[in-house]
């Protein structure tokens, strides 16, 4: 299968210096490409959503979550395949 595989990453937690840089570095190390990104601070909470192209990454989604989570241990990190969002929110 040659179609693009995408993963959705969310990082939520208390805002502090350097979260975005650590997360991006982890993503780059996993050879995943950032396609889209939105980041906001809601009531003091850092909230980042990234859509990654993981077609060329040799990491599984679980490994990707561990790598990112390991760099920002105080944050709640979710990494899920894009299909689940498409299934739920698209008819």
């Amino acid at each position: 299968m040659n179609e693009t595989q995408k993963a959705v990453v969310t990082v939520i937690g208390k805002d502090m210096v350097g979260i975005l840089s650590k997360v991006s570095a982890a993503v780059a190390d996993a050879n995943a490409n950032v396609l889209e990104m939105t980041q906001s601070i809601l009531d003091g909470y850092f909230c980042l959503i990234m859509i990654l192209d993981i077609t060329k990454s040799d990491k599984t989604i679980e490994e990707l979550r561990e790598i990112i989570g390991g760099r920002v241990p105080d944050m709640v990190v979710h990494v899920m395949h894009e299909n689940i969002f498409d299934a739920m929110h698209r008819i």
């Binding site: 899920m80 689940i84 929110h89």
Partner: protein
């Protein structure tokens, strides 16, 4: 393109509202395992289940990680074992032990299909299997058993109803030192469905393909949470609309996981069962949905109406989300598995009579109800007969899974732990139905059966 609120909604559903896939259940036909030598037959059963389902748990875990959604149970259902008993003869408990061993070896949570369908009468193997149920359930850990005693088409086999009352009691007695757990794995059905992925009633019907993978989704917590955000003055039809939308989303997740698991395992995708299946965990209760709709406590007058609306809305939402809807598909009301039901039963708001009325409008029957240990076999048979009558007349599945708490009286509690939960002994009417039950015979099929 995905938007932020959709992404956050999905994550909140899984993280905070207990959205999960309750089960992926592989249905395996054992018809080709029948042999006139029971030991050979058992070996073939073991080999076939092992070879088909050995990767089931691994596949389930892979999907859990890929989509970040828990798949709580991995299960197997098989052809009703009575069919194999009919060919092989011998002690049916050998099959139960074989099923238990293979279930342990492949690491699944439950295996269903120690079953028989006797709504119209008994044939070879049926009676032997029914007689062996108490022993089979007390000597195994993961085997689930079910017996279908009635249907809209055939009426109710009252001989089977009589015997099943006795077997439910015997099962409780044989497992009384383990919280009478045997009866948590025994269901007596009317209009049993052949593709139900939920335990304890799952079996792989004879009209099914050789091997299929079915999915049971859950999500009472998600529905409740959505309702709690509705304005106080929202009308019932507005609430139904929101439930439909939520059921749609839940179902799509199940469909995605199921088709992908089936593909990975190289088997056909069977059905998706849209049931709202509660767990004892806080925030995962069907009773709490009914309370969110506006009842002070589940069991109050109005519960049946609220449940009817909920059950229907869940089906309508799910139907659009998947073209392979099957199984039971509706709201489950197992008392000991639902935190809100347990509270209502403890408070005395929820009675067995109210539950019986509720079963007329939802997808199952009297489920996981703890009854006094001194309840007679005839009373249990009569409970089964009442439930079967509701199913027969309304052309729907009904079931009885009651647990006589041997040695306990009304108000005391059984605790099974895990997903099976705990619950108080509920009051049962004790006036004797023995004369009717002992008549045996058959309740003829109702007029509804003559559709041709």
């Amino acid at each position: 393109m995905l938007n932020t609120s959709d992404i956050m909604e999905t994550i909140t559903m899984i993280q905070d509202e207990n959205l999960d896939i309750r089960t992926i259940t592989m249905g395996i036909s054992l018809i080709d395992c029948a042999d006139t030598d029971i030991d050979k037959s058992c070996q073939k059963v073991y080999d076939k289940i092992y070879s088909h389902a050995k990767d089931l748990v691994k596949t389930g875990e892979f999907i859990e990680k890929k989509y970040g959604i828990p798949i709580v149970n991995k299960r197997v259902s098989v052809t009703p074992i009575a069919l194999l008993c009919g060919v092989s003869g011998g002690d049916p408990v050998k099959y139960a032990k074989t099923l238990d061993k293979v279930a342990h070896d492949i690491g699944i949570n439950f295996i269903g299909g120690y079953s028989t369908l006797v709504q119209k009468g008994f044939s070879a193997g049926d009676m032997e299997l029914i007689e062996s149920i108490p022993r089979a359930l007390s000597e195994t850990e993961l085997v689930c058993s079910s017996v279908n005693v009635g249907s809209t088409k055939a009426g109710i086999n009252m001989d089977a109803v009589k015997i099943m009352g006795q077997k439910v009691r015997e099962t409780a007695e044989l497992t009384k030192d383990r919280q009478c757990i045997g009866d948590a794995k025994l269901v007596v059905f009317c209009n049993a469905v052949e593709d139900n992925p939920f335990m304890a009633g799952a079996f792989h019907g004879v009209s099914e393909a050789d091997c299929v993978l079915s999915v049971g989704v859950s999500g009472p917590g998600v529905v409740r949470s959505v309702l709690s955000k509705m304005p106080e003055d929202a009308t019932m039809n507005e609430i139904a609309e929101v439930i439909k939308k939520t059921a749609f989303k839940i179902t799509r997740v199940g469909q995605l996981a199921g088709t992908e698991a089936a593909e990975m395992l190289g088997v056909k995708f069977g059905i998706i069962d849209l049931s709202l299946a509660p767990t004892p965990a806080v925030g995962d209760s069907v009773a709490h949905i009914l309370e969110e709709i506006g009842l002070e406590q589940c069991g109050a007058h109005g519960t049946t109406a609220a449940l009817a609306m909920l059950n229907d809305a869940v089906k309508k939402g799910g139907l659009m989300a998947s073209s392979s809807v099957g199984g039971l598909s509706g709201a489950f009301i197992p008392v000991t598995e639902d935190a809100g039901m347990i509270d209502a039963a403890r408070a005395g708001t929820l009675s067995i009579e109210k539950l019986e009325a509720m079963t007329a409008v939802c997808s199952v029957g009297l489920d996981m109800i703890v009854i006094p240990g001194d309840t007679t076999a005839e009373v249990i048979s009569a409970i089964i007969a009442d439930e079967a009558a509701i199913g027969m007349v309304n052309s729907k599945t009904t079931a009885v899974r009651v647990i006589p708490a041997i040695g306990l009286a009304e108000g005391e509690e059984l605790d099974f732990g895990g997903l099976l939960g705990s619950g108080p002994v509920m009051k049962v009417r004790t006036k004797s139905p023995a004369k009717m039950i002992n008549r045996g015979g058959r309740i003829p099929a109702p007029l509804q059966s003559l559709k041709n």
